[in-house]
Symmetry: C2
Subunit: 206 residues, 2 copies
């Protein structure tokens, strides 16, 4: 299901709703109102109702949203009901830190392979993963049907890694390198650049 | 200068413009057109012209934007012409990785202090920084006039660290913990959560 009308801003808020809904589910909470959600997530309740209305009418006036149904629906929209394997290139501090997040990811979305170009890192264990050489990347990605690639290499290597990912069949990239990377239109790339995060935060200082 | 009319989306794009403009500056390029910027950054040129028009008319038809002037103006808008000190709490893999980014940050914005609650980490060297105990945080932040705080602790500790940051006088927070954190209205908080990044990327898979 392709739903092209959903804006990127909404797509970025859905995982935040999902995280809190999962907390409510664990607490056996059955329903939640947009004002509860807004209060907890520091978002405008009208904005939340608008976001969730993209996916049809889930909320009932005076009762709120059914927590389990909303979880199921958001997971479906985000395609988290699929099994999604992730590869990571760059086994430095950042790569190791991200691999540790595996524990927080649901079973259906995991980092399943880590690669590094430095011989000294190949063979290292990161939790239950063994760092593989770059030469094995294409074959591993194809054989494991890995669809998302994470780049945690120095900026100077980032374009090269992105090119290799794409040649290997990766469909979406999450880039942590402070570099401008060009990809074909059909590849989705998100940049998680720490320096730009800090710089945009500085704007809000008085 | 507070410029509340600039949308968050624009504020997040400005550092990306700035990064490429700095590259052009190093290459002695004097002017750049919105279509060049658009091509390089994979953004719509009309969007770029609109973004930059927020700050007055910089572009000249047929010539483009003056690179140096645009750099100066964007740095001013993002307050990067100020001296901004940053503190980080959580000296794990992620904290260490971010401290290494200091080399990519300009001289006026640096991580100048790292804290950790674990005694075994206190005293560790990360580049030129020594990990300090949490008990020293308030005094260090006040005496060094640190304005931005970064959270790289486990989710269960994140709210506590945010509260201590705010009590110490921190004005803006960049949170990397996969946690929902409540802060007073006057504190700006950005979340850089790896799991939500990955989840929103999954949406764009076919």
């Amino acid at each position: 299901m392709k739903t092209p009308k959903i804006s990127e801003a909404v797509v970025r808020r859905l995982p935040i709703y999902l995280r809190y809904l999962n907390v409510l589910h664990l607490q056996n909470v059955q329903t939640v109102s947009s004002s509860d959600l807004g209060q907890k997530l520091d978002l405008n309740p009208a904005q939340i109702r608008k976001d969730l209305a993209y996916f049809g009418e889930f909320g009932k006036k005076g009762i709120g949203y059914d927590v389990n149904y909303l979880i199921e629906k958001i997971r479906q929209i985000l395609k988290l009901d699929q099994f999604i394997q992730v590869a990571l290139v760059g086994a430095g501090n950042l790569g190791r830190a991200l691999s540790n997040y595996n524990a927080f990811l649901k079973d259906n979305m995991k980092i399943v392979a880590v690669f590094d170009a430095m011989e000294s890192k190949v063979g290292d264990k990161i939790n239950n993963l063994t760092v593989q050489p770059m030469q094995e990347m294409k074959q591993t990605i194809k054989s494991m049907n890995i669809r998302i690639g994470i780049i945690t290499v120095p900026a100077s290597e980032a374009q090269h890694v992105a090119d290799e990912f794409i040649q290997s069949g990766i469909e979406a990239i999450l880039n942590f390198a402070p570099a401008i990377i060009k990809v074909p239109n059909e590849i989705r790339i998100h940049h998680a650049d720490f320096t730009t995060e800090l710089q945009s935060l500085a704007f809000y200082l008085d």
